[in-house]
Amino acid sequence: MTEHTRRQFLSASAGLVVAVTLPLPGRAQSGAAAILGQDAPTQGDFAPNAFIRVAPDDTVTVLIKHIEFGQGPYTGLSTLVAEEMDADWSQMRAEAAPANAELYANLFFGMQGTGGSTAMANSYMQMRKAGAAARAMLVAAAAEEWGVPAGEIEVAQGVVRHGASDRSARFGELAERAAGMTVPEDPPLKDPGQFKLIGTEVQKLDTKPKSTGQATFTLDVYREGMETVVVRHPPFFGGRVANFDPAPAMAVPGVVAVREIPSGIAVYATSTAAALKGREALDVEWDDTEAETRSSEEMLQAFSEAAAAETLVAEEAGDVDGALEGAEQVIETEFRFPYLAHAPLETLDAVIEMRDGVAELWMGSQFPSLDKPTLAQTLGVDPSNVIINVMFAGGSFGRRAQPDAHLAAEIAAIAKAAGRNGSWKLLWTREDDLHGGYYRPMTVHRMRGGIDAEGNIVGWTDVLANQSIMAGGPMEAMMDKGLDPTAYEGATKMPYDLVNFRTSWARMESPVPVLWWRSVGHTHTGYATEVFLDMLLEAAGKDPVQGRLDLLRADAGRDRAVLERVAAMAGWDGQRVKGDRGYGIALHESFNTYVAQIAEVSNDNGMPRVHRVWCAVDCGVAVNPGVIRAQMEGGIGYGLTALLYSQITLLPGGRIAENNFDDYRMLRINEMPAVEVEILDTDHDPSGVGEPGTPPIGPAVGNAWRALTGQTVTRLPFTVGVQS
């Protein structure tokens, strides 16, 4: 989500905030139990609200409304609850909340969903209030049981204590009585100075099961009599089935059915291996009359031409045309970015079970509020009879956040085509994943910058051409004047005082579906703006760090602070090359989190080898510094893979060239730089960390490479760009 989008979500859902903050009389129940009203919490449980359940065995279970795929909400949101409850960390547990938009909406979206690095930001007050309410009720229960004033009772590390009478009780012992207490409407919250858990590195709640093979993901769900299904999708985007012969697939032992569904040909089998073999045997003829048959090269050329023609202005100030005309020196360049697949290591998958009009889904659903109506509509069942179990997901990076709910639609179509009670597991292979679209949009940036005789930047234009992520789906309503901010975010609202500038956009069309990819528009705007700025500063004879500091607006204090911090961390002394190493810097804010990075790079047979990365981040209050550092490390590794290796290529005719990790290369352990992260100590409300670590690494390495070799790589990935 962009800033712009989030604010719209926020204003649209402002009325809900209070109501949703502590939903009542919701009870903290997971999965099917909550939806079907069965299996209410066991006798003696205390569920003060929809987020917390205290059991007689003293465990506190927090229902997490955000999907966990490594970015840390299970731990982060539980920390908020434990903090305000004064619980002991060892008694905390986390479970996925069921799909219920009223109880578990993302307060920035007004629907249940995860994205835009909002999990912590939108939950910060809500989960603290939930914890504070639970604490107040436990205290009230103790006061009643002991006949003492509530004001004299203290709580610490999961123990409720009355000092004067030397009485104490654990949460579990008070749970039953607490359940009968009045829920406080506005329980007091701690001052940040009183925090005991927030700001510490508590052990992540999902670490142990994920280190022992015990964590249950979607693919690990096995239902009685379940069949495995794989789907042959069209080999080009916008293609359709013309003809198919199910016979060769049906001849494979274990294959039980072959059905045409809207997304392709589904092969049903009693085992995964049989389904895969059946699909290999399938004979399908495709119709490409409405398909994208241009190659990537042809598309890039068309995008480049479009960026030279008439475009929509996204943001402008001053008289940029006049400024460029009067400039002493004008620098022009064009950056080209390929389509990128997210390639989460767990491919897309889902399990569905049909039981007499009830549909139960197990899936790494990132937008349960969109997946649910899609299932209901496709299957013709009432939404109240759709159960969604939000599973641990093996990564997403945006891929599971599907505005068109295409995966839910596909598994629903599979169940519908079977036309009976039963259960089915849908598996996408890696080839399906890389061929499957929903890519980071292919993008062209045409940039012009002007410098005056004193070396000041006097004009800056950036024209982008790419497809819109938001157009044509439920998000289109949020587009204003035909503009999709996800297309160019990061090339607008820059922290620099550029005086005369213009950012504009040419919207491209193609049947190739596009989607947000870890940091969305910032994936390319971060590279284009920060590398281009480096070029201008160099032309003006300015130091990359001091030049940026001098350009920062007066109100860009957070940008300034991370830039100064990272320069200090790396011992920046103005030397861009030392020995065989080059150094490059980049600064980029995304999702209200400010990140600056410096990369140390050498030339390894014509490709950059990144040895070290220094990273300074300001994400407001650091709820769990360990999670923040991990997300910076991971965001850097993810961005580095894309920068160096990744491209999805349409061949002439529209087929995809890349098939698997041998030709869609991933960064490996021997290529991972040593990453050093420092978190600025600020008191801003917490902002997200899942995405903002990614945008700066590309330009930091790109600028280090420029320093070292003199080559500005304008075509990504580097494997292609260093040749051109």
Partner: protein, 204 residues
């Protein structure tokens, strides 16, 4: 593969070192009798080795005879992905030996095209038998040198080329891979003829 029996033309082809196609070939490799026209035994032996080199320098063979510590893959001889190292005895590193992925035979992928190659054993050729980046003359000298050919006599070398299983894998490389030229039988015959003609090495 098609075969032609047009000996006159073939002789011209040999003498003019013209491209194959007119001579008697099996899978792109000329048969031994195509070298009958030589009067000079040394020249004939050299020509036979040049023919053997079509096999030796084919990516199916070169990829596992690197001069550094990592095998190559594919006709373009790219660096092996995932990255792997020679390790002790050419079997890879502790934690990731060659047989972590390569089994006792080729295995077709269940989904998608291609296969993962396999044979028992599956290993890199020793570093002293490095061929990548070497001239045919250099490779020939290495092959004849017992210090650098695994202590083999010429007879043992013939046996190796004609019957070794891992050498033979070059002609049964599995789905998605082009085989080495000729057949292992023909490669053995060429080796034998080369030895009998004096095992001369090409100059250069």
């Amino acid at each position: 593969m098609k075969m032609w029996k047009v000996s006159t033309v073939a002789l011209i082809a040999i003498l003019s070192a013209a491209s194959s196609g007119w001579s008697e070939e099996v899978n792109g490799l000329r048969t031994v009798d195509e070298f009958d026209g030589f009067t000079d035994e040394t020249a004939r032996s050299q020509a036979l080795f040049e023919e053997m080199a079509k096999v030796i320098q084919h990516p199916r063979c070169l990829n596992c005879h690197p001069a550094d510590n990592t095998p190559r893959q594919g006709m373009e001889m790219r660096i092996h992905e995932p990255p792997v190292v020679r390790g002790d005895s050419g079997f890879g590193a502790p934690g990731m030996r060659c047989n972590t992925c390569h089994g006792s035979e080729n295995v077709d992928y269940v989904s998608g095209d291609g296969s993962i190659p396999g044979h028992s054993p599956w290993m890199l050729a020793p570093i002293e038998q490095a061929w990548i980046g070497k001239t045919v003359a250099e490779i020939c000298a290495q092959i004849k040198d017992p210090e650098r050919n695994g202590g083999r006599t010429l007879a043992e070398l013939h046996e190796h080329n004609a019957h070794d299983g891992l050498v033979g894998w070059g002609w049964t490389p599995g789905e998605g891979r082009e085989s080495a030229p000729g057949t292992q039988e023909l490669f053995g015959e060429l080796t034998n003829a080369w030895i009998e003609a004096g095992a001369a090495c090409p100059e250069g």
